[in-house]
C-alpha cells in the first residue's frame, strides 16, 4: 500500500468536497428535520408491517431484475445485429420514466383492460390480475431490468477481447468461458447492482401503492409521507428515515462483502470476437431472450407513444417552456453528477483497498437511501432562514437530482476507474503522470463509455424526477413533470399524455446523445 505516497492534490480535494456535499444533502437534511421535531413518537404495528413488506418486495424485485437482466446482457454482449445500438438505448427507457407515466403504460399492457387481458379474452381466458405483490414486483422489474442490463453489459464489455482470444485458442467451449471469464465478472458486478436496485425499490412508494392493490402493500416511504403530510410529525418522519438508512447500510455492507474483484487484466481494446457462441442452440436462446425483453420493456412505451402522439401538437406553449426548463436542469444536473461521482470515485481509488475507500464510496450511495421528502424538507429548513426557497427552485432541483443519480453514476464509473488504475496505474506512476494530466491523458479517454452512460443517465433521471419540488415549487418555473402533473389534476388527461410523450422523448434523446458521445469510436 505504500506505492503512492503523494501529497493531496486538487483532485482529491474535490473528492472530499463532493463527499461533504453529499453528507450535507443526506444526513445533514435529516439532522435539520430532527432539529424541528417535537419528540419522537413510537412506531405503530402498521409501521412494522410496512417495514416487512418494504424489505420483502425490494428483495424479490432486485433478485428478479438481476436474474432476468443477466441473459439479456449476455445476449447483447455476444451478438451483433442491425439496430443493436438503438435497441440498447431504447431498452434503457423504462428506468427514466416518471412513475405515474410508467404505471399507466404498464396498466395499458398488463391491466384489466390491457393488451394482455384482451388477448387472453380472445382465447376465452380471464383477464390478468396485476394488483398485488406480483404487480409491485412486475413494475419494479420493468423499471430496473434496464439499469441492471446496462450495468451488467458494461461488465461484459470490460472483459478484454484478448481473454476471449486466449480462451478460443485454448479450445474453451461456452461452459468453460462461463466458468472462467463470465462468472468471475458477474461475481464482481452483480452484488453491487443488486444492492442499488434493492435500495431503489426500498424507497419506492407511488408505484407500490398503485399496483399493490391496497394497504397490504405499504412501504416505509409512505409512512414517512403520512407523517409529513397528515400528521406533521417530523420526529416520526426522521425516525423512519433513520431506519431506512440503517437498513440500506446493512444491505450495502452485505453486498460489499459478497463482491469480489474480477481481475481481468488489461487489454488492447480490440473488438471482442466470440468463437464459442456460434452454435444454433445458443443463437436461438439469445434471440428468444432479446425478443421477450424487447416486448416486455417496449410495449408499454409504444402505448405511451400512441396515447400521447395525438396531443403533442396541440400542447399549450407553457408545456414547451417547462420542457425547455427541464432540459436545462437536466444538463446542469448531469454535469454536477459527473463531477461529484468522478471526484468521489477518484478519491476512493486513490485510497486503495483501505476501509476508508469503502467509506468514501459508501457516501456516494447514501442518496439512494435518503427519502426525497426528508431531503426536500431538510433543505427547506436549512435554506429558509437565508433565502426564498421558491427563488432557488431550479438550482435546488438540479442539485438534488444530481445527488439522486449519483449512486448509478458511481456504479458505472467506479469499477471502470478501478480497472484503469489496476491495469495502467503503475505505468502512469512510472511516467510521473499525476493530478490533472493523469486525469486528462489516461483516465478520461479510457472512461468515455461509462462517463457518457453516467451523464446520460443523470440527465434523463433529472428530466423525469419530481423530487423535492413540492416545497420549492415556483409557479412561474415549473418543470415538465410538474406541468404534466398539473394537467392531470386539471382533468386534462389527453394533454397530460402528450406531455408524458414529450418527457419520454426528451429523456431518451438526452440519454442517447450522452451515451452515444461516450461510444464514439468504439466498435461495440
Amino acid at each position: 500500500m505504500a506505492k503512492r505516497l503523494v501529497p493531496i492534490k486538487p483532485v482529491d480535494g474535490l473528492g472530499a468536497v463532493s463527499a461533504a456535499l453529499i453528507l450535507l444533502l443526506t444526513l445533514g437534511t435529516l439532522a435539520a428535520v430532527v432539529t424541528r421535531a417535537e419528540g419522537v413518537s413510537a412506531l405503530r404495528p402498521a409501521d412494522w408491517a410496512a417495514l416487512r413488506f418494504t424489505l420483502w418486495q425490494a428483495f424479490l424485485s432486485a433478485s428478479l431484475s438481476v436474474l432476468l437482466a443477466v441473459p439479456v446482457a449476455r445476449a447483447l454482449a455476444r451478438r451483433q445485429f442491425f439496430g443493436r445500438s438503438a435497441l440498447i438505448t431504447l431498452l434503457g427507457a423504462p428506468f427514466i420514466l416518471p412513475v405515474i407515466v410508467a404505471v399507466l403504460g404498464l396498466l395499458a399492457v398488463f391491466g384489466r383492460s390491457g393488451i394482455l387481458s384482451t388477448m387472453l379474452g380472445w382465447v376465452g381466458l380471464p383477464p390478468v390480475h396485476i394488483y398485488g405483490l406480483h404487480g409491485v414486483v412486475l413494475a419494479h422489474v420493468f423499471f430496473n431490468i434496464p439499469l441492471a442490463t446496462r450495468l451488467i453489459l458494461q461488465g461484459w464489455l470490460a472483459i478484454p477481447a484478448e481473454r476471449f482470444r486466449l480462451a478460443a485458442s485454448l479450445g474453451f467451449d461456452n461452459a468453460d468461458i462461463q466458468r472462467v471469464l463470465e462468472w468471475p465478472m458477474l461475481r464482481a458486478v452483480v452484488p453491487g447492482i443488486f444492492m442499488v436496485i434493492f435500495l431503489l425499490c426500498m424507497t419506492s412508494f407511488a408505484v407500490v401503492l398503485a399496483l399493490g392493490g391496497g394497504p397490504k402493500a405499504t412501504t416505509l416511504e409512505l409512512a414517512i409521507y403520512q407523517a409529513f403530510r397528515f400528521d406533521f410529525d417530523l420526529g416520526k418522519a426522521a425516525l423512519l428515515a433513520v431506519i431506512q438508512f440503517g437498513l440500506c447500510a446493512v444491505v450495502a455492507v452485505i453486498a460489499w462483502r459478497v463482491a469480489t474483484p474480477a481481475g481481468m487484466g488489461a487489454g488492447l481494446d480490440r473488438t471482442v470476437e466470440r468463437w464459442d457462441t456460434s452454435n444454433p442452440v445458443l443463437r436461438a436462446q439469445d434471440f428468444t431472450v432479446l425478443v421477450f425483453a424487447t416486448l416486455f420493456l417496449l410495449t408499454p412505451l409504444v402505448v405511451i407513444f400512441l396515447k400521447g402522439a395525438g396531443a403533442v401538437w396541440t400542447l399549450p406553449d407553457v408545456v414547451w417552456w417547462s420542457a425547455f426548463r427541464s432540459v436545462l436542469v437536466a444538463l446542469g444536473s448531469a454535469a454536477l453528477a459527473i463531477s461529484l461521482s468522478l471526484s468521489l470515485a477518484l478519491l476512493a481509488v486513490k485510497l486503495g483497498q483501505k476501509r476508508t475507500a469503502g467509506f468514501v464510496e459508501g457516501i456516494g450511495y447514501l442518496t439512494i437511501a435518503a427519502s426525497p421528502l426528508v431531503v426536500g424538507t431538510g433543505l427547506f429548513i436549512m435554506i429558509f432562514p437565508f433565502a426564498r426557497p421558491s427563488d432557488l427552485a431550479l438550482p435546488v432541483t438540479a442539485v438534488v437530482n444530481a445527488a439522486m443519480s449519483l449512486p448509478f453514476a458511481l456504479r458505472a464509473l467506479s469499477p471502470a476507474l478501478r480497472d484503469i488504475e489496476n491495469d495502467y496505474g503503475r505505468l502512469a506512476d512510472s511516467l510521473g503522470l499525476s493530478g490533472w494530466s493523469r486525469l486528462r491523458l489516461l483516465i478520461l479517454p479510457r472512461m468515455r463509455r461509462p462517463l457518457g452512460f453516467a451523464a446520460g443517465l443523470a440527465a434523463a433521471l433529472s428530466m423525469g424526477d419530481l423530487g423535492v419540488i413540492a416545497l420549492f415549487a415556483d409557479p412561474e418555473s415549473a418543470t415538465l413533470p410538474l406541468q404534466m402533473f398539473r394537467l392531470m389534476t386539471a382533468y386534462r388527461m389527453g394533454d397530460a399524455a402528450g406531455a408524458a410523450l414529450v418527457l419520454l422523448a426528451l429523456s431518451l434523446c438526452l440519454f442517447w446523445i450522452f451515451d452515444r458521445g461516450g461510444r464514439v469510436d468504439a466498435d461495440t
Binding site: A46, F384, D474
Partner: protein, 326 residues
C-alpha cells in the same frame, strides 16, 4: 392566441411590481397552475387592489408549519377541512372578518378563521354507457357484483381518500370495518393521489373512481362528453370544503382583508365552477353554468367537524387497514 396577451400582462405586472405592494398567497399547485383558477383570480384582484399578487405553490400547510411566524405568506388558499385543526393549533392564522351568512354551502359554517371558497361532494364517478345499473346507495354499492372494479385514494396520502374514510365511518359507524370488508373485493387498487386514480378510470382500467359529483361537469363543458356521471347515494355524501385564511402576522393586513373580501365576491366565485370544477361557496344556483344543473345532487350532506374527524380518524384508519389487508 391568448399567450402573447398573458405575456404582455406579465411584463406589465412585473414592471408595476417595482412600486406596488406585494400580497403573497400560498396555494396548492393545482390552484395556481395555468389551468386552475389562480391566473384569473390574480388578474381580477390586481385590477382592484393596485398591488401585486404572487402565488407561492406547494404543500401549503406543511410549508407554513415549517416556516412558523417568519412566513412571508399573507394569505393562504386551498386548505382543506381535514387539516384545519392542525392549522388552528399552530396559532398562525387571524380571523377572516367576513360575513358568512350568505354562504351557499350545504352545511352550516360559522368559523371565523377559515373561510370557504368552494366545495364539492365526494362521489363515485362512472361511465354511464358501460355501467348499466349504477348504485343508488352505499348499501347498493356494497352489494354490487365483485367484478365491478373501483379505484380509491389512500386516506394516508390523499384528502379525498381521507374524505371517503370519514364518509364510510359516518354512514356505518361501528359497522364500518364490515362495510370496508364488503367493499374490499371491488377495490381494484388504492392510489397515492387523485390523479393516478382518475387516469386509471379514464383509461378504462376501472369501472368507478372516487372523485366528486362535480367531475362530470368537466367532461360535459370542456369535452362535450356526456358519458361520465356521478352515482348519488341515498345515505348522503361527504362534503369537502376548500378554505382560505389570513396569516395573523401579515405585513399587508389591509390587502389581506381585501383579498378575503374578494374571495366571496361574485367575480371570484363565478370563476370557480369552470376552473376548479367545483361549487362556489357563495353563489346563487341561478348564476352557475347551465351544465352544472345537469349534475346529480345528493339529498343529504354529511360532514364531520374538525374535532369529530380528528376523534374518529385513527380508529377508522385502523379499521380500513384491517379490512383491506385481508
Amino acid at each position: 392566441m391568448k399567450y402573447p396577451l398573458i405575456a404582455a400582462g406579465l411584463c406589465a405586472a412585473s414592471m408595476a411590481a417595482a412600486e406596488a405592494p406585494v400580497l403573497t398567497v400560498y396555494a396548492p399547485d393545482y390552484f395556481a397552475s395555468e389551468w386552475g383558477p389562480g391566473p384569473g383570480i390574480e388578474a381580477g384582484f390586481e385590477e382592484r387592489c393596485a398591488c401585486d399578487l404572487q402565488f407561492i405553490t406547494g404543500d401549503v400547510l406543511p410549508r407554513l408549519l415549517l416556516e412558523g411566524e417568519r412566513t412571508e405568506a399573507d394569505v393562504v388558499i386551498g386548505l382543506n377541512t381535514d387539516v384545519t385543526l392542525k392549522a388552528r393549533e399552530s396559532g398562525l392564522f387571524g380571523t377572516h372578518g367576513q360575513d358568512t351568512s350568505g354562504l351557499t354551502l350545504p352545511i352550516e359554517w360559522a368559523d371565523d378563521v377559515f373561510l370557504p371558497f368552494d366545495w364539492s361532494y365526494l362521489s363515485f364517478v362512472y361511465d354511464n354507457t358501460k355501467l348499466e345499473n349504477p348504485p343508488t346507495s352505499f348499501e347498493a354499492l356494497l352489494e354490487m357484483p365483485d367484478d365491478v372494479k373501483i379505484v380509491i385514494q389512500d386516506p394516508r396520502s390523499s384528502i379525498s381518500g381521507l374524505g371517503l374514510l370519514l364518509w364510510v365511518k359516518s354512514v356505518y359507524g361501528d359497522d364500518a370495518e364490515n362495510a370496508w370488508a364488503r367493499l374490499a373485493p371491488k377495490i381494484l387498487t388504492v392510489t397515492k393521489g387523485w390523479s393516478e386514480a382518475y387516469g386509471m378510470f379514464t383509461d378504462g382500467e376501472a369501472d368507478m373512481v372516487l372523485s366528486f359529483t362535480t367531475s362530470p361537469a368537466y367532461h360535459i363543458i370542456a369535452e362535450e362528453d356526456l358519458t361520465k356521471s356521478a352515482a348519488i347515494f341515498d345515505e348522503g355524501h361527504y362534503v369537502l370544503v376548500e378554505l382560505a385564511a389570513k396569516i395573523a402576522t401579515t405585513d399587508q393586513p389591509e390587502l389581506a382583508d381585501a383579498f378575503m373580501e374578494y374571495v366571496l365576491s361574485e367575480e371570484f366565485q363565478s370563476m370557480i365552477p369552470t376552473s376548479n370544477w367545483s361549487y362556489p361557496a357563495q353563489l346563487d344556483a341561478a348564476k352557475l353554468p347551465a351544465q352544472f344543473l345537469q349534475l346529480g345532487t345528493p339529498e343529504k350532506a354529511i360532514f364531520l367537524s374538525e374535532q369529530e374527524a380528528n376523534d374518529v380518524r385513527d380508529g377508522a384508519l385502523e379499521e380500513w387497514r384491517n379490512a383491506l389487508s385481508q
